[in-house]
């Protein structure tokens, strides 16, 4: 009998990834988190759940998403680039994979109401969408600043019947929307499920969300095998705010050391400018939103207000699994400035006819920086489409004319 050593990159029985993770929640949230922790695996490993989940991913979300060989971009960069087209999911990003999974979990737990936080609005839209589908009440907290800069998604959520509540505390962005959603959950502990949009929060959220997003790398494996004859690429690139699309894109490659995992984080105006969201470059270990992780903070342990042109990456922490991938060196983290992300967004738009989300553009901006050779296979998780960012892109149109 062989005993396989547990992966250092996956959650352990206590809810930790090495020193990161855990459930640092006040007692008011303990019963909710405990209920989820005690039931999530039982629920999601049930064959009936899996069959319903997969059917919805296929018939409602439009999976599998294509794996597209980007020939003109490949020629420009000098390597072989495949785009995992999560932008083609219903609602325009990978976020729907998680919300479909979690709404089914919420139903199993008998919850009547859903609360969520959102940054760019993609998770809010994906949550409002599945709530409409299942007939559950939906409340989405969104930073007041994000409501301004992501208006199309606010309108979409309202169209879908969700109540969008502005978070007016702190930096009025994703971090504060998350605080408000947690407060709402504290005040409504028995009938409400909190659909966290990323691989953050107390255990079991990071693991549960990663499992729902793992469909990204599961599909990549079979598609890559079909198109190239090999299942493993040389590189996988994804952007990291909290890190859910990266968690999904990396998932089945975590224990394949031959695959280099590249995480793009938002440098904002530059890592040293004081206007940045580059968590691993600027942060240190601490506790945020119920988990031990790496976060941007002052010397006194106050959480720093992050900045990025991209609302979805404007978060001062990263998921605990990503903190472990960073600390162990399993993944390489690259800081991408607003400007580099814009360059990459316009480049992809004009070379491949795909307008990416600003978040995704950060991953694309890593392409020239990773030293990929011509025959190397590089998979980029094209996490979302750029319609929601048109106002920002339009402001910069002249620079790229």
């Amino acid at each position: 009998m062989t005993i396989t050593a547990p992966s250092p990159y996956r959650v352990d029985a206590s809810g930790y990834y090495g020193p990161f993770g855990g459930a640092y929640v006040p007692e008011m949230l303990y019963p909710n988190v405990e209920e989820l922790r005690d039931n999530y695996l039982k629920i999601i490993e049930d064959p009936e759940f899996q069959s319903e989940f997969k059917q919805l991913l296929r018939d409602f979300a439009g999976r599998p998403t294509p794996l597209f060989l980007a020939q003109r971009l490949s020629a420009e960069i000098g390597t072989t680039i495949y785009l995992k087209r999560e932008d083609l999911c219903h609602t325009g990003a990978h976020k729907i994979n998680n919300t479909i999974g979690q709404i089914l979990v919420a139903q199993q737990l008998g919850k009547k109401r859903i609360v969520a936080e959102t940054g760019a609005g993609q998770h809010g839209v994906a949550t409002a969408t599945v709530c409409a589908l299942m007939g559950l009440e939906c409340i989405v907290y969104m930073g007041a600043i994000d409501i301004e800069r992501q208006k199309p998604n606010v309108d979409r959520m309202r169209m879908l019947g969700a109540k969008v509540v502005p978070a007016t505390s702190g930096s009025q962005t994703l971090k504060d929307a998350t605080n408000e959603a947690m407060r709402h959950w504290i005040s409504n502990p028995t009938d409400t499920h909190y659909i966290i949009g990323s691989v953050v929060g107390p255990h079991p959220y990071p693991d549960m969300v990663a499992r729902f997003q793992s469909i990204i790398s599961a599909e990549t494996i079979s598609q890559l095998l079909e198109q190239t004859g090999r299942a493993t690429p040389d590189f996988v690139l994804a952007c990291v705010g909290g890190g859910s699309n990266a968690a999904g894109a990396f998932y089945h490659y975590l224990d394949e050391p031959g695959v280099r995992l590249i995480a793009a984080e938002a440098a904002g105006q530059g890592v040293d400018t004081g206007h940045s969201a580059a968590t691993t470059a600027l942060g240190k270990p601490g506790i945020l939103h119920g988990a031990s992780t790496i976060l941007m903070q002052t010397e006194d342990g106050q959480v720093t207000e992050p900045y990025s042109i991209s609302a979805g990456l404007d978060y001062p922490g990263i998921g605990p699994q990503h903190a472990q991938l960073f600390a162990t060196g399993r993944a390489e983290f690259i800081s991408i400035t607003d400007k580099a992300a814009l360059d990459a967004a316009f480049q992809l738009s004009r070379l491949e006819g795909i307008i990416p989300a600003l978040e995704t553009a950060h991953a694309l901006a890593c392409l020239p920086l990773i030293g990929a050779k011509k025959d190397d296979v590089v998979v980029v998780c094209l996490s979302g489409r750029g319609d929601k960012d048109l106002a920002t892109y339009t402001k910069h149109l002249e620079e790229y004319s």
Binding site: M28, N179, I287, Q297, D300
Partner: protein, 260 residues
């Protein structure tokens, strides 16, 4: 002996605990407020260490936290302010309450040493997981004479209440109803049933009720089945609305009004 132990040995009913945020409304208000609360007859005080992301707190305490941080309050500054208060005649038991991250960044060992040096009697760290407490903090707190307080809510299972009671040695902080601090808790039949149910468990620790206690009526209702109650947001609102020169008098009147 720890001042909390002494307090609860001598007083088993109508115990009043008042919470205030360190460094609020002015950075240097911490110690004067502490003195005023003692003179007013408060049985124990809970000093909040401000945090940027206080998820268990409602708007009033959030804003006081932010203002204190804007004033420049830190864990280190708080200990500087508390230096010597015991020598200046402050005898009331002092608890420090706060979220874990600023404490961890300050250094947990140094934090405990400073608590002991300044005469802090206990701590409330609401987001400290029980198993982490047992594994990493318990021995350290004990070594420095720090008692620990755990929260219990109406949703906490009886088995877990027993577990928390077994590990706490200050008191049990009963959260009156689901919600964040400062919510208007209606001291209704549900709350009364929860408090009397908890009383019937015969916990080894004293119990103090918090969240939504704001005046004499809610204090009396909350204290019926418990050792006493905790007032936070209502006191913060008082500090917010009182001009600096009237602070000591206002505090005296406020505390007197809670237990007429």
């Amino acid at each position: 002996m720890n001042r909390l132990t002494t307090l609860f040995q001598h007083k088993t009913a109508d115990v009043l605990n008042v919470y205030f945020t360190a460094g609020f409304p002015q950075l240097t208000d911490t110690v004067p407020i502490l003195h005023a609360l003692q003179e007013a007859g408060t049985d124990l005080v809970e000093i909040g260490m401000p945090y940027s992301d206080p998820v268990a707190d409602g708007e009033t305490i959030q804003k006081s936290n932010q203002q204190a941080l804007d004033n420049g309050m830190t864990v280190a500054t708080l200990f500087e302010q508390l230096q010597g208060v015991r020598q200046q005649g402050v005898t009331v038991p002092i608890l420090l309450m706060g979220y874990l991250n600023p404490v961890v960044q300050f250094g947990i060992e140094k934090f405990c040493q400073q608590c002991q040096a300044t005469g802090v009697d206990g701590v409330i760290l609401p987001d400290l997981p029980l198993e982490v407490y047992e594994r990493e903090y318990k021995a350290l707190f004990a070594k420095h004479g720090l008692q620990v307080v755990f929260l219990v809510t109406p949703q906490t299972s009886p088995a877990r209440v027993r577990q928390l009671d077994g590990l706490a040695d200050g008191f049990i902080y009963l959260v009156a109803a689901a919600g964040t601090t400062g919510a208007q808790t209606d001291m209704n039949a549900d709350v009364d049933a929860y408090l009397s149910r908890t009383k019937a468990m015969g916990l080894r620790n004293p119990t103090l009720v918090g969240f939504g206690i704001s005046d004499a009526a809610s204090f009396a209702a909350a204290s019926r089945h418990t050792t006493g109650a905790i007032i936070g947001s209502a006191f913060i609102r008082l500090l917010q609305n009182t001009p600096a020169q009237g602070q000591a008098t206002a505090i005296k009147e406020f505390v007197a009004g809670i237990r007429p």
